[in-house]
Amino acid sequence: MTNPPTHLANRPVPSPHRGEVLLVEGLAKTFGSHRAVDGLSFAVRRGECFGLLGPNGAGKSTTLKLCLGLIQPDEGRIRLLDEPVPVRAREARMQVGVVPQNDPLDPDFTVAENLLVFGRYFGQSDALTRSRIPDLLDFAQLTLKRDARIQTLSGGMKRRLTMARALINDPQVLVLDEPTTGLDPQARHLIWERLKRLLVLGKTIILTTHFMDEAERLCDRMLIVDHGRAIALDSPAGLIGREIEPHVIEVHGPERAAWAEAARSLCDRQETVGETTFAYCRNPAPVLQSLQAHPPLRVLHRPANLEDVFLKLTGRDLRE
């Protein structure tokens, strides 16, 4: 076990409801004829983990860029850490850490140099940054890689270094764009562990993801967006409870069509996608019983999850 970075730990943990760190009202942005963000409003509370979910092209990354003041909105109002964005986005970003996709680290620098140089962008003295580096490397499990070149790091290490770099200014808010995309399970779990630790320390986390298990694990609340519009905002459990039946039975194999027809009245909702029938129900017993008459069918009975909600709300069409 490693200890949390001390400069992060020394800060008193703010109570979770001391106001909002990010306020977005009526945000809209059009690129050419494509309405990327179409009237989004939401607020992120201090100390929570807020997820921005949506299929590819839903407007997640554009929304993040708008909130960081990197692009000019067509309409709407943004306040980040009490600063109007984009007018005073630079001031707001003094207190924000950003973990973008694809880890744009400096390939010509070592691990430690990446952190040192990044600290300078915040106007931090090298002495202050140097004093933070050992703890951040420890936090990112990169202590032994301190003087390694970036090219020699694995994908997980690069992501953890990008995360450590985003913490160099001891930010109040950490923004992550798809933090575990492209990582293996071990690396993903380590990132989740570190994010949970930051939450315990009182940091606010805003992340985008299309991994539903990630959102379910980490997020206190999440906003599902599609076509640049908000389509649901709640806790993962709240969304699952509100939007979908608690049991899902997935069935495929020979005789599926016959069974599906017969069992239609036994479930609350039925959906057939290609060769698979999904039966959504509050009481699974009669459905499972009906399946016993069709032994060749392959059956998966599982609790409903966020992915079911997501697919119900955003549809099953591919977004490419």
Partner: protein
Amino acid sequence: MSSPPRWAPPRLSLRLIPVLRRHALVWRKLALPSLLANVADPLITLVAFGYGLGALLREIDGVPYVTFLAGGAVCMSTMLAASFESLYSAYSRMNVQRTWESLLHAPLNLDDVLAAEWLWAALKGCISGVAIVLVAILLDISRAPTLLALAPVILLTGLAFSAIGLCFNALAHGYDFFSYYFTLALTPMTFLSGVYFPIQQLPGWLQPVCEWLPLTAAVQLARPLVLGQWPPDVLGPVSVLVAYALAGFWLATGLTRRRFVH
């Protein structure tokens, strides 16, 4: 409530200093090969043309050809290095290596990032320009005290070509675009700017056009200084270089804002 309008003047701040330090730290790691690459071309030109062709020509405007050429070579060296840095290297930081993205996530504005590119590419130009001056001193091509006055000329030349390069960088969608700029703009310009021969050799109708080229202005200032004289006209060429540098950087800022922010 908005970002600066697209064509508002560039907003400069001292925040660009850590960005310059970043570029310098990278350069320190790769300095020797980078310097060789930048200086090789003008150096070969100076030695090959200066001594090779110079043996045939003997004198031009009353001085040995190599001495005549040296002033042009200093300007060309500055131009090439500043252009290379503001095109290939800046593009690589902007789009390939995505250094800009990291910078913009820190408390830096696009204007800061771009201004740092501008100054850095100008500085790279200066290093290459000064390297050619040192060669000229070492080879005893010129040891005139007026060489010292080349410093501001080299700086202005670097700033002008760096600014022009950043305009093209803002429009680029790949490295290929830059080879057009080099072969269609910079190479012809070296022949139209009096680097190799006086522009009085050009057709009469072309000469007034050439007067407005930034490289012509640079050569008009640098050549007399290499020959140990003061330029007959300082204000004209200096104004041309300042105009390219400032208007170019303003234009580059607007084009880059259009690409990123708007």
